[in-house]
Symmetry: C2
Subunit: 114 residues, 2 copies
Amino acid sequence: MKPVMTQAQTHTQSQERLNSRAALLKALAHPTRLWLVEQLEQQERCVCELTDGVDADISTVSKHLSLLRQAGIVASRREGKQIYYRLETPCLLGMLTCIETALEAQTSKSCCGR
Amino acid sequence: MKPVMTQAQTHTQSQERLNSRAALLKALAHPTRLWLVEQLEQQERCVCELTDGVDADISTVSKHLSLLRQAGIVASRREGKQIYYRLETPCLLGMLTCIETALEAQTSKSCCGR
DNA sequence: GCTTCATTTGGCATAATAGCCAAATGTTTT
DNA sequence: AAAACATTTGGCTATTATGCCAAATGAAGC
C-alpha cells in the first residue's frame, strides 16, 4: 500500500492536532469561563443573566464569552435587545466530569475506580 | 435537616472547584505539554528521551515538566544520572480523547455520535 | 577531587492574558 | 429621532506565560 503522506506531513498534522487540543483547553482554562460553560449546560442564557452571577465587569464577561465563541465552544444569537449564548459542544461536559475525577484521583491516589 | 454549610461557604467551595479545574486545564493547555503527556502514556521516560522529540531548549522542556509536576499530572524519580517522568493521572488520557471528539464535532456539527 | 553527563534553576526579554473604564454599536421604546 | 437598554469593542495597565542562555546542582566515572 502506498503511504498516504510523508513523514513531514504526519509531523505537521500531529503538531496541528496538538495545537488544536491546546487551544481548546486554553479557552476553558479560566474559572469564570468554566462557570459560564456550566451555566449554559442546561439552557441558553442571555449575557445579562450570566453577568448577574459573576463578580466582574460586564465587558469582562462579554470578552470571556467572545473567547469561548472563537474557540467554538459556545454560539450566540440575538433576540431583540438581548444576545443569548448556548453551548455548541455538549461533549465538553463529560470532559469536565473527567477532569473532576482526575482531580479527586490526585488526592486519593486512586484513579478512575482502579 | 440542618444545613451543613452556609451559602458563603458553598460559594467559596464552588469557586475552589472552578479554580482547581481551571488550573489543571491550564497546565495541559500547551502543545508541547500535551505532547509530553502523550509520550508518557505508555511508559515512563527520562528527560533526555523527551527532549529528543521536541524542538525546544532542554531547559524549556524541563520547565514544562516541572509545571506538569506541580499540577500533579506527572511525577518524577531519579535513577542514576537520569530523571524519569511518569504520568500520575492516567484518567487524563480519556479526557484528551474526549477533547478530540469535541473538536471533531466542531467541524462536523455532530457530537458524540448523536 | 576533578571531569563529565543529565537536569534544574535564575535571569531576562518578549508576548499573551485579564480586567477595568469609556466609547461605540445595535435594538427597542417613546 | 431621541432616549433607554443590552452588549461589544478599544484602549490602557498589571500580571502572567514562554523560551532562550548561562550558571548551578547532583550523580557517576576516572
